[in-house]
Symmetry: C2
Subunit: 343 residues, 2 copies
Amino acid sequence: MRWAVLLAGGSGTRFWPLSTPENPKQLLPLAGNGSTAEEAVERLTGLIPRERVLVVTGLALADRMRDRLKLPAANILVEPRAASTGPALIWATAEVAARDPDAEVLSLHADWAVGDATAFRRTAETALETARRFDRLVTVGVVPSRPETGYGYIVPGAALDAVSRTVARFSEKPDAATALDLMAAGALWNSGLFAWTAARLLAETKIHTPEVAPHLARLVEHDVAGFFAAVTPVSIDVGLLERSGAVAVVPGAFAWDDIGTWQALSRVRPKDPFGNVIVGSAVLHESQDCVVWADRDTVVLSGVEDLVVVQANGRILVMPTERASAMKTLLDALPPAVREVHG
Amino acid sequence: MRWAVLLAGGSGTRFWPLSTPENPKQLLPLAGNGSTAEEAVERLTGLIPRERVLVVTGLALADRMRDRLKLPAANILVEPRAASTGPALIWATAEVAARDPDAEVLSLHADWAVGDATAFRRTAETALETARRFDRLVTVGVVPSRPETGYGYIVPGAALDAVSRTVARFSEKPDAATALDLMAAGALWNSGLFAWTAARLLAETKIHTPEVAPHLARLVEHDVAGFFAAVTPVSIDVGLLERSGAVAVVPGAFAWDDIGTWQALSRVRPKDPFGNVIVGSAVLHESQDCVVWADRDTVVLSGVEDLVVVQANGRILVMPTERASAMKTLLDALPPAVREVHG
């Protein structure tokens, strides 16, 4: 049967002051009316039922995830510690295998905006079929819409069938010139949407991932804490996909965004005729290309451009959109009492 | 005896969204910890006692003015309608004359920031003495600190004594080049700080101010409503001072500002080393020459300059400081439900 593993850990700071430890990015309605995590589960409707959706998250968010995503308690996998995507996905896949040894697994993240859910499902289905037919670890490569330097790229290799290709190589976060070259050469964004059979994933792990493989026995003994204490954190890309020869790529032609910064809202939300994105109550007068999020007051902008203006959780943030990607620098400069937000 | 008349009517919009019909500019702590109206009365300490300070204001503000300024109820003069400064000051002076026929009157506004209260009092005293000695209507001319185009200028004429001069002419709101010329020629700002004897003011009115003079009899009959219904609105400058020959100017060498816009706060309040003025809770990171007023949340600015950021009464305003003088244009563009604030 088909299962999904939704990675929903972490509590990033890129959406400060809206995101908080209690309501991190994946629980915020960044792209639409529901949170990105809720939308991620909804998006699987017709492909994978809720009872076969597992969520990997942290202890602080476990109850909230279960409630918000309307999932069985047994489907919430609580990571004892954050150890990157490798251990999380290998553990979740082992968990699926324990319930369903012949399972196919679709792996995705809880913080994406996807423009076309139908195309997404069709691509995910193709990825699952490819994973089964060719017994490979499949990564979905999203057709790039811009030479983004913040993403990883996949350079496809030989054709496996009409849509699937082997992977020639991965290129992580290229510089701007390289990103343009990659895009021109038909490289695809490494979205983090993966498909594999549980059996193949675990077999490949044993061959290629010494950071994790020696500790798999702990999972058989239901010693999740011991497993996480023993593994070396490593991403699934670096720890497995880039090492394994049994990899394939399926192209995905849907709008996809990991909503990495406040500025990303201007890609994933409708804009007014002047390029402004407004969430909450706001009037923009002779202003353009701004991102406004107001959780309480009415924001009035006049004569400004390229600004992010956010009111959330007792803070009001105003900065040029170009600074949205340097949020950590700003937060490091703030007094703790100002930086720490809850809500 | 010396009396003061404080003009404290009006509910301007230049400090939107902080100023409201209930709390207009003169009741806001724009320049310091107290409201400008409270500071105006405090500033007279030692020169004119509270029991001889009259306040001209509107019905909506009368109770609040009395409470905030700690004045006897009889000292609050409620204008039946706003009719500019001419009728207001002539009425208030007539009211003073009824209580004290030989009175000297100092006339001032409730929305000023004054940098040096001692110099202010000394100049006011000189103005009152000049008004008595030369039996003239005296206007205090503030020594300009910049070629401001928003103020009126006074060109002094012949010397009356060591400090007092006649007035050669008035120049209202000159263009930038003319303002520079005026400043270079020793012209002074027409501050609105006036001194006269009640008798001379009323005598000059009868000669020069047909908009008001025919209706003075109404005041003798205590028919203030009839007086205001009958007069033609006119400023004291246009309606009397610019017409009368019995005028003098006394220079005032103190920092004076009528706090006309949000931008003015950067002149009347202390700035941080980067030229920012902050009222309320705010952290400014790599930002300069901004004016921040926060009534509830903590404002965080990063990488911006020359911005006004105001949170007040359920609104958050963000605009370049240069737009602060065009507030009316902005407010006209706002939906009434957004424009109307109370607090």
